[in-house]
Amino acid sequence: MLTLSLRSFGVRKLRVALTLIAVALGVALISGTYILTDTINRSFDTIFTTAAKGVDVSITPRDAIDDATQDGIAVTTIPASFLAEVERQPGVAKAVGTIDTANVALFTADGDRIGGSGGAPTQLSSDTPPPFSAITYEEGRAPTGMGEMAVLEQTAESEGLKIGDRLKVVGAGPQTELELVGIARFGGVSSIGGFTLIVTSLEQAQALADQPDAYSSILVAADPDVTPGELRDRLRQLPSPTPVNVRTGQQQADQNTADIREALGFLTTALLVFAGIALFVGAFIIFNTFSITVAQRMREFALLRTLGASRRQVMGQVIFEGLIIGLVGSILGLLLGLALAPGLRGLFNAIGADLPSEGTVVEPRTIIVSLVVGTLVTLASGLAPAIRATRVPPVAALREGAVLPRGRGARFITPSGAILALGGVAALAAGLFGGAGIELVGLGAGLVFIGTALLSPKLVPPLAGAIGRMFPGVVGRLARENSVRQPGRTAVTASALVVGVTLVAFVSIFAQGLKATIAEAVDTAARPGTLIVQNTAMGVPLPAAVAGGLERVDGVTSVASVRFSVSRVEGVGRTAVTSVSPTLPDVFDTRWAQGDNELLRDLGRDHAVVTDRWADDHGVEVGDELALTTPTNERLRLRVTGITDDDSGLFAPVTVSNELAQEAFGERQDAIVFAGTSPDEEAAVKARVDRLLEQQFPLAEALTVQEFKDQQAGQVNQILALFYVLLSLSVIVSLFGIVNTLVLSIYERTRELGMLRAIGTSRRQVRRMIRYEAVITALIGATMGIVLGLVFGVAVTVALEDEGLVLSIPVGQLVVLLVLGGLAGVLAAIAPARRASRLDVLQSLAYE
């Protein structure tokens, strides 16, 4: 029996190849994801471990809230006085302070920015002299004293920088011209993803960062007779002015790696979700191929039964084929994943998430998961057809044109489809509205897809009828009739496409809603003529001097700034904090559940306002007292004076004054600065603001309300593009499904095609017929997908109405999606249509 299985593959090469592709593409995304993230993790691990060489103990600031650091860069610092304390401890051979900050930009002498704005970040780090060896020099030497700097090899290469070049660096302090004296490696590598690293001496870094009396960390080397562990324990006893973490060098490297791993965990999960979607689509195709194959090979099975094969043997044969296809497809997918991993990395580079990946890491887990998942999905998808194969009666071998008996379950298909779809809707609703969690939403969506797929045989004839009317003449009529000849088959083929199209339609609708929401919130809140000033590097704050400078610009009527921090609220836990200037109401019109804008003018040191959602969740009312611990370990008691109802995203759960943020939270830098102008002078004032920023704060940019909205929309679009690319893999898988179904049905209709050609149908007409058939199938899928996408989009929007999400349907994009669906059909039809038109007429007529 096994030989027979293998033999039959040879006969059906194309079919097997197309099925393999369906399995392989989904598996490729799984293995590609694992390979990429494992490689990135391993790279960071190597970098951090190499960078930690010579470091016996590392002292880093710890905010009082928890151990959190932001993006690996400390949000707080260590007072310089502590270094002297550390140096005095017995067993300390050498201790140095370091400066690490992302609030920096590098320019050529001519003022052109090096290292993208908005893209991969730039970082300034102070050089660490031996025995610390995080930074090593390939060319030139380490920067010493003032006026010197080094960059990473990769930056020097891509920007064409040479030793002796003069470059400009701007940090929180004044702009400074430095000479390039060294080309460096960090942790032994020439580049850390797209990071632009600027290395200077400690003094120079302190000047650039405007941080004369504080360090980002302290590195300690132990005397030879003290182990790192002993020294760490000793230094932990040392009272420090602000909270610190004291770790051995290895612990610190492990911690850094773990932080990165956690940050990348989200990426892994997101990519695996897309892999799951592609495999889910693949499952439809595998199911369809096996179903059609079983139907076509009925006589073969019947013959086997006649010759005495048992039902189990027949089923075993189909299952064994599934096993082989699943395994081979998974292996192909695994190999394809190796090629896909760099592609995925490129995708993230394209949106600015450049990450280091040296070499290729294939963990055993990658291989096991890929093979097991791919094989199981194939086997599961092939199970129903295998069971069907057992129903072939032996007598079918002797009859021509016998039809496979309908399964006992056939009459339950439509009702169970309805039940599944309804169950899916219920699960979706519970997940979205009942707060039952995102898993339930995913499960619900999956059930809706399967339910719709089961219902779709009933939907195919009317849809095909309506769509097919677009295609004229007998060729169009034949295409239409052929597509409904086996509604179940067309339905499953279209359903594979439905999944991808639904998700594309859904994210389009969701993103459009998001953009509309942002635009609406900004429009309602920002007063006309307000300029928004922020750092060109996303998430990096501005020095307070920017706000001061803006105040002096002619025509600026009012300046307000907003800062972000965190706190631990008693009885709640870690809570984000916004702080605002008293002038905020001049430029920003906050919406209130209780209270009014005037509250923001006198928050002082004792008041806070909170958001309505947070107040609801934690039972906080106006007049209540909040007990907070700040990052610098101050304990505060604040009275709640108002409750906001604002969708702009500006307000964290708790809002305090900038004054308090500076004193008690250690937050000296502004996240956003608003500059009010009178609307009719806006353009002229903006020109003056631009000039000021260019001359004194090249890191900052000023945007009008419209520009700000466009920028936000641009960010949404970038993520949207990423989703499109990842979903396109599912759509590609479903295209192979259309190809597969067409090829199989052409094969079944060989004699018909021969007759059509014999009586004078031209090759072109045959091609057109196949193309129409593909387009009809694709449009059925696209139509159903867009409808489902609309349903999901509306449901999610309604669920998030409280968050201020507004519904905005991108009609144009959905129309484009429909057209693309049709084009996909044209694309899928190319090969099968050619095949059909090239059939030898005589052989086809003789064909059985």
Binding site: G473, V474, V475, R477, L478, E481, N482, R485, R751, E752, G754, M755, L756, R757, A758, I759, G760, T761, S762, R763, Q765, V841, L842, L845
Partner: protein, 233 residues
């Protein structure tokens, strides 16, 4: 029947394969069929009778020799022109009926015209339907028709475009004797009353006897070419 030939073959040779393994299906056949003739091509299996029909109908290309259909030399035609010629000048009837299951009887009959983008001549269609006797079955699909009825649909389809010649390949091979007689009678009628030319390949002597002329092939050569009783009658 002494009209100019509507279909003629000269020195027709068809070889399959190369060298030692080459099989000669037609070893130099010269034959002509006149307009309005009802001819049967007979011969044992492997005699080359099907190959001859395929070459005459433009479905197969001869290794050498020439075929002229209605004044057109087929050797010079590319696939596109050959297809158009089959569409406009040739009608086909197959052993296995070869109707499209998704179309009704009427649509199947009109298929050659639909493919050509031509409007059916309603009067001719009515006459044809009356001749083949399918009046009340026109909106049925092939699966709802008996074998005999299906083959009558196929005959009507072959005649609908008023081709220069109709080729019938074992038209009675899949039919019982009653249905066979009906179809043969129908072909006879098409020649006698509609002036059609019919060339039929068969190995059934009773079927061949309905024709005007029987051409017999053996080993790729014509061994006999005679008029039948039917022609005399």
């Amino acid at each position: 029947m002494t009209n100019a030939p509507i279909v003629s073959a000269t020195d027709l040779v068809r070889r399959y394969g190369e060298g030692e393994a080459a099989v000669t299906a037609l070893a130099g056949v010269t034959v002509a069929f006149a307009q309005g003739e009802y001819a049967a091509i007979m011969g044992p299996s492997g005699s080359g009778k099907s190959t001859l029909m395929h070459c005459l109908a433009g479905l197969d290309r001869p290794t050498s020799g020439s075929v002229v259909v209605d004044g057109v030399e087929l050797a010079h035609l590319d696939d596109r022109r050959l297809t158009a010629l089959r569409r406009d000048k040739i009608g086909f009837i197959f052993q296995a009926f070869n109707l499209l299951p998704v179309l009704t009887a009427e649509e199947n009959i009109l298929l050659p015209l639909s493919i050509a983008g031509r409007r059916p001549d309603r009067e001719w269609f009515e006459q044809l339907v009356a001749t083949v006797g399918l009046g009340d079955r026109l909106d049925h699909r092939p699966s709802e028709l008996s074998g005999g009825q299906q083959q009558r649909v196929a005959v009507a389809r072959a005649l609908v475009s008023r081709p220069a010649v109709v080729f019938a390949d074992e038209p009675t091979g899949n039919l019982d004797s009653k249905a066979s007689a009906d179809v043969l009678e129908l072909l006879r009628t098409s020649v006698d009353e509609l002036g059609q030319t019919v060339i039929m390949v068969t190995h059934d002597q009773d079927a061949a006897d309905v024709a005007d002329r029987i051409v017999t092939l053996t080993d790729g050569r014509i061994v006999e070419d005679r008029r039948t009783q039917a022609a005399v009658a």
